[in-house]
């Protein structure tokens, strides 16, 4: 019994550590990759070697700022909103496996779990948008809601395709069922997942809700200091979660040479590929207009995801005979 509790605490601490470290790694990668893609160097000073401590310095800066709650805001909702945004991705990260046994919590329906807790984060953003008592925030919240409802459907359909192909709702089970054929067979699904995940994270080119040229910072306009930092952390934790998820679903997670010893490294590497891809997309492509955004979701991704679902179903029926 005591051993169980120690194990649970240890796992929780590991997940929390990963939750605090991996987003910073992604953030630093974004700083550097984006800078070099734009012919710059990025942060070079903080910490000495190529500005490795830039995000730590940013965190210290954020924690020193004054915690301002606007007079017109709904104070309780305004204060709770960042917590909801961050908790959802913490819960999601807890069930993503790095190896067949290296997982925070081995839940039977972990794929549905990740998708379900993602919805809580949405509510957090909506609460931030409404509770700020600011018209830009409200508009940003509206756009967030419209965008997330539209892109959740193709995301879930793409995930359903992977689940059908593996015959399992557990991420560990899906990664076990993975074969190299999936690279071709599930390609449309992976594309749909990547685009929908980028939209779900409100990353450019799907950053209409926080479009700074029209909405200041969307739902986060009124936030400063640690609460704003929490939203930023949630965004980068979201990239970690989505990249690892796609790495596990589409690239087979820990499958690779010597996967008994360094399986977790393969998962992280595969996740890193998609994280860099999401960053790359941000640098390379311009922002979509609101109507284009909806058009891409409903006329592009949903039919493609349905097609992928049909292909997967046919494949499963044919191969299971």
């Amino acid at each position: 019994m005591a051993g169980d509790i120690v194990e649970i605490v240890l796992r929780a601490v590991c997940v929390l550590a990963a939750f605090l470290v991996l987003p910073l790694l992604v953030g630093q990668t974004e700083h550097k990759v984006m800078a070099h893609m734009q012919g710059r160097l990025g942060p070079m000073e903080a910490g000495g070697f190529h500005g490795w401590a830039q995000l730590v310095a940013d965190g210290i800066k954020f924690s020193q700022k004054e915690d301002i709650v606007p007079l017109a805001a709904d104070k309780r909702v305004f204060r709770i909103a960042p917590a909801l945004g961050i908790v959802s991705y913490l819960f999601a990260l807890a069930v993503i496996p790095l190896g067949p046994h290296t997982v925070g919590a081995d839940v039977p329906g972990s794929l549905v779990w990740v998708l379900a807790v993602g919805g809580i984060g949405t509510v957090g953003t909506l609460m931030a948008g409404w509770g700020s008592g600011n018209k830009y925030s409200l508009l940003g919240g509206l756009r967030t809601a419209a965008q997330l409802v539209s892109y959740e459907l193709p995301l879930i359909l793409a995930c359903a395709s992977f689940a059908i192909a593996a015959g399992s709702l557990s991420l560990v089970g899906i990664a076990h069922a993975w074969t190299p054929w999936w690279l071709l067979w599930q390609l449309p699904g992976a594309l749909v997942f990547l685009v929908a995940a980028t939209a779900e994270l409100q990353r450019p080119p799907f950053d209409m809700p926080v479009a700074d040229s029209e909405l200041v910072m969307g739902p986060y306009t009124e936030y400063t200091g640690l609460r704003f930092a929490l939203f930023l952390l949630a965004e980068y934790a979201g990239i970690v979660v989505m990249s690892l998820l796609l790495g596990v679903l589409y690239l087979g997670g820990w499958t690779g040479p010597f996967d008994h010893q360094i399986g977790w490294l393969w998962t992280l590497l595969k996740g890193a590929i998609f994280a860099v891809l999401i960053i790359w997309i941000r640098v390379a492509w311009p922002r979509l207009r609101e109507d284009q955004l909806q058009r891409v979701a409903w006329l592009g991704l949903v039919p493609l995801a349905l097609l992928q679902l049909a292909i997967t179903a046919i494949g499963v029926v044919v191969t299971s005979r």
Binding site: V33, H36, M37, G39, R40, W280, A284
Partner: protein, 194 residues
């Protein structure tokens, strides 16, 4: 649709290419910039050349030059000679918090007492420290680069090329002028010499 997709691919390709090439950033405090010799950093004063004629102070568009001087009388060196008067510069100051770096003072100075220097690292934490007196202004003099020749000299190979290009038999006059242009332009200032 193909246009849309090729546009997306082009964006990815361009950013990837930029990432693999060197960044354009200059690491300024660690690596000093190589400024052209004519860049306008700070105004240096060669005090010996200044006659306190006040031309610069009067032409300055925002009145940021302060000059104080007094007259001194030198007694005649020979018997029955006339005593001579000359100006002694007491104060020459430029307020760089007002200066707009137009360079008019340097243009109007008839005695070449003011020069541009590319030095630019003289920011202060107190705006009053930007009022630089003649001692400070004089310290910039060693940083003033040597003047560039008015007509840039052609490199040797290019000059030979010019001479070869022109056929002297066709037009002797053209040949002469070309030879003259090929590196034998009199340096500025040498023409007036007797």
């Amino acid at each position: 649709m193909t246009k849309f997709l090729s546009g997306l691919a082009k964006g990815m390709a361009t950013t990837a290419r930029t990432m693999t090439t060197h960044a354009h950033t200059q690491q300024y405090p660690h690596v000093k910039p190589e400024l052209p010799s004519r860049s306008r950093g700070v105004i240096a004063l060669l005090e010996e050349n200044c006659t306190s004629c006040m031309l610069c102070a009067r032409e300055c568009p925002d009145w940021c030059i302060y000059i104080d001087s007094h007259k001194e009388t030198t007694p005649p060196t020979t018997e029955g000679g006339r005593a001579r008067q000359h100006n002694v510069l007491d104060r020459f100051a430029i307020d760089f918090s007002l200066c707009m770096y137009c360079g008019i003072c340097i243009e109007v100075c008839p005695f070449d007492a003011l020069f541009w220097s590319p030095e630019f690292e003289y920011s202060t934490t107190d705006i009053r420290d930007l009022l630089q007196e003649k001692e400070t202004l004089g310290q910039w003099m060693p940083t003033v680069p040597a003047p560039e020749p008015l007509v840039p000299e052609l490199p040797q190979t290019e000059a030979q090329q010019l001479v070869v290009d022109v056929e002297p038999e066709d037009d002797p006059a053209a040949g002469r002028t070309t030879k003259r242009g090929a590196g034998e332009v009199p340096r500025p200032g040498t023409e007036e010499q007797p």
